[in-house]
């Protein structure tokens, strides 16, 4: 028997800025309604590029949410992250008064898959189009991968352990696990997550190198994981930030405990080697279950990676079966990201947010644009499915070869 970890990590705040909603309520509403917001790419300068469909965050006005001095020195990806962090902190009712005397107890962890691409492209254009003296003073702090962690730390006054996982998609889960380990070692709370803004024109050019990028132009057919029509993935903007806290610490201040981050494991099986990701993902699931002290049949819902590439979808279906046994064919599997696209490191954090909201609402959101599943999985399609959910499994794989799994639990005695 494995003894329980002394210091447990719980989610107390959720902040979402996603293509289907620029706050957590809007995100959950469209997610459980199964509405797809995938649409033609409209970001300026992308019109002539072969990427046709993406999940864009629309109706997001940074100036209404963030102070001007922070806006001018940051890229869109950091605008999303700062806004999502604000929502999460509000949701957790965690304010300066709670940590003014102990700033080293609250850390910030983000994952970043590409950094400040739009800001960077603008400065590259100044440099090469006009000359080196036209490059602005904020390029050095806006483009790099650590921008969001640094700005959230400064804006909130969080001096605790700060970290940045510059990773492929699975990094979103790795960042959460990093935060949980930081809490196990003594940090009281961490603002953690990921938000991305990969739709600047040059960023899109870079992504065209991904063989698995879908370039179809029909939004309803561009990203259809687990179907025989699967043709790759659609990229997206946005993401989510969470507040996670040490359980006792959260209870002491009367915070609403939303879920426990119970287990995680990460493996690596090589870039775009999807068949090998079967074993990698299965090992990650087994590791996460072990850390959570959770039996396979306790998993009530799986939020799948759902890359939308036949070999990858097949490997994922087999990995779920390998790791969960017979239960793998019965457990409901969903992939709400088929309605919003894959926001790289932000994608699995959005799945974690959706998983927590699913457990709270006893409702499994469906997989938009997917009706004709061709794998031996119970994929939730069409409408949301009511179900009593105590434990959720979130899966993620990255284009550079990472696999990760995370087990989330509903708290047994929610204190409101």
């Amino acid at each position: 028997m494995k003894t329980r970890k002394a210091r447990r990590t719980v989610v107390t705040g959720i902040g979402v800025v996603a293509p289907n909603g620029t706050n957590t309520e809007a995100f959950w509403k469209r997610t459980h309604e199964g509405i797809s917001v995938l649409d033609r790419v409209t970001r300026e300068g992308c019109e002539q590029l072969p990427l046709r469909v993406a999940g864009e965050v629309r109706g997001f006005e940074a100036a209404e949410l963030i102070e001007e001095r922070f806006i001018v020195q940051t890229d869109r990806f950091t605008h999303f992250a700062m806004a999502a962090a604000d929502i999460a902190l509000d949701d957790a009712r965690l304010g300066r008064a709670d940590y003014e005397d102990s700033p080293f107890d609250i850390g910030v962890v983000t994952a970043a898959g590409s950094g400040g691409g739009e800001f960077g492209q603008r400065e590259l254009q100044r440099l090469w189009g006009q000359g080196s003296t036209y490059v602005g003073p904020y390029q050095s702090i806006a483009w790099f991968y650590a921008a969001s962690t640094g700005q959230i730390s400064i804006r909130g006054g969080f001096k605790g352990p700060c970290a940045v996982v510059a990773s492929d998609e699975a990094g979103g889960l790795d960042a959460l696990a990093h935060a949980a380990r930081s809490i196990r070692r003594g940090t009281e709370a961490v603002v953690v997550g990921a938000a991305e803004a990969p739709l600047a024109p040059y960023s899109v050019v870079c992504q065209l190198g991904y063989e698995d990028l879908s370039t179809r132009d029909d939004p309803a057919r561009a990203y259809r994981p687990f179907t025989s029509d699967a043709c790759g993935f659609v990229p997206a903007e946005g993401g989510a930030m969470l507040v996670v806290e040490e359980e006792q610490s959260a209870r002491r201040r009367g915070a609403r405990i939303r879920a426990e981050v119970a287990g995680h494991a990460a493996t690596f099986t090589g870039a775009a080697r999807w068949e090998e990701s079967r074993e990698g993902l299965a090992q990650a699931i087994i590791g996460a279950l072990r850390e959570a002290d959770c039996a396979p049949d306790e998993i009530d819902v799986v939020f799948a990676d759902a890359l939308g590439v036949p070999a990858a979808d097949s490997a994922e279906a087999l990995a779920i079966a390998d790791a969960l046994g017979a239960h793998g064919r019965q457990v409901p599997v969903t992939a709400p990201k088929s309605g919003i696209g894959r926001a790289y490191c932000g994608a699995p954090v959005l799945d974690v947010a959706a998983a927590v909201l699913s457990m709270e609402n006893a409702l499994i959101p469906p997989t938009p644009n997917v009706f004709d599943v061709c794998h031996d999985l119970d994929v939730v399609t069409g409408q949301a499915r009511p179900a009593e959910l105590r434990t959720a499994l979130v899966l993620s794989r990255g284009l550079m070869g990472s696999n990760a799994a995370m087990v989330l639990r509903r708290p047994t005695d929610i204190q409101v």
Binding site: E44, G45, C46, E47, L49, F104, G107, V108, S114, G120, Q121, E123, L124, R126, L127, W128, G129, S132, T133, V135, P137, Q139, S140, I141, F144, Y145, A146, T149, G150, S153, I154, G157, K159, G160, P161, C162, A163, V164, V165, S167, D168, D174, H178, P201, Y202, V204, V205, C206, L208, G209, A265, A266, T267, F268, T269, G270, A271, M400, G401, S402
Partner: protein
Amino acid sequence: MTRRVGVTGVGVVAPGGIGAPAFWDLLANGRTATRGITLFDPAGFRSRIAAECDFDPAAHGLDADQVAKSDRYVQFAMVAAREALGDAGLDPEKVDPWRMGVSLGTAVGGTTRLEHDYVAVSGSGARWDVDHRPAGPHLERAFSPSSLASAVAEQVGAHGPVQTVSTGCTSGLDAIGYAFHSIEEGRVDVCIAGASDSPITPITVACFDAIKATSANNDDPEHASRPFDSRRDGFVMGEGGAVLVLEELEHARARGATVYCEIAGYATFGNAYHMTGLTPEGLEMAEAINRALDHARMDGSQIDYVNAHGSGTKQNDRHETAAVKRALGAHAYDVSMSSIKSMVGHSLGAIGAIEIAACVLALVHQTVPPTANYESPDPECDLDYVPRTARPLKLRSVLSVGSGFGGFQSAVALTRTGGRTP
């Protein structure tokens, strides 16, 4: 039962020489590798000097496919990883691949190729709506910083946790810190850890020009990096990479490996103050030092050498001097402290790993590398900076500290095996 973490292999790609022996030779002799920029034409830039690597990937064993796929900074890491594995005498095929991880840092990732191809697709900055057709192959790898850890993981056959860490200029310390945690906490037995950066490109040089963080001492590049000296005028950009083989101590002993030293403690904090500015008090860096020492179950008085961040900017060197005094108290005046950035420049995310490699070699050689170019004292920097000449010294425990954009402050404690309080 605490799991302890040994360093069993070191690989370095640094300005002035490729490989750990050449690197140590440079440091031990106090030579500087800073010079006028040759990687591009720096005419018109404010700072036109850097510490560059004379690097030929093919000569160091990378095949054509590896070279084509990898940006320069990834190539540095692969060459350093190869050296580190050889040095450790570790055959990756004899390690359980699911118990082997990779943790590598970088601050600016694939900017070399990103900028190169940007020029092609934009008509040299003529248009926002870039044309994808002139883009070269493998550009997605330059775009995705996880390609760094991914490339090295494929090279060594690791199947455990593989991550790229990017906390600006503390990336190297943090990547090694995360690796240390991953072994100590039992997730892996072996971790290939380090950092790499190749930032000597027009965009990165220009962005530091814009905030006057780099030295403009273009007429005397060999003496331009002057940490702690009163005439310092900014850092000199560098490039390179360093990779360590970290191994759970019993795992290393069971295979009869030489353990150079242990990673004994690590901590990082944010200053929550400014993305590029530092407070004069150094409170957060002192906190990082104290927590790293606590983690190592060591007292500040046991530290024999502080490998400084010592970037050579006015504010950094003052901040750091204050932080070391705050953390080590009166012992700060006795401890030897130096900045190798005086010799190999500041390679952003890579330098933390290069500095930890220097600490490992300092412990092995029982010698403190000097601060080159240190001539005229600054009244606000009044510690023993080991001027110009390496110092033979009995070293048991050393500290490496770093400070980076974003406000991050990190510290790593290393000790010869047996150097900790029982």
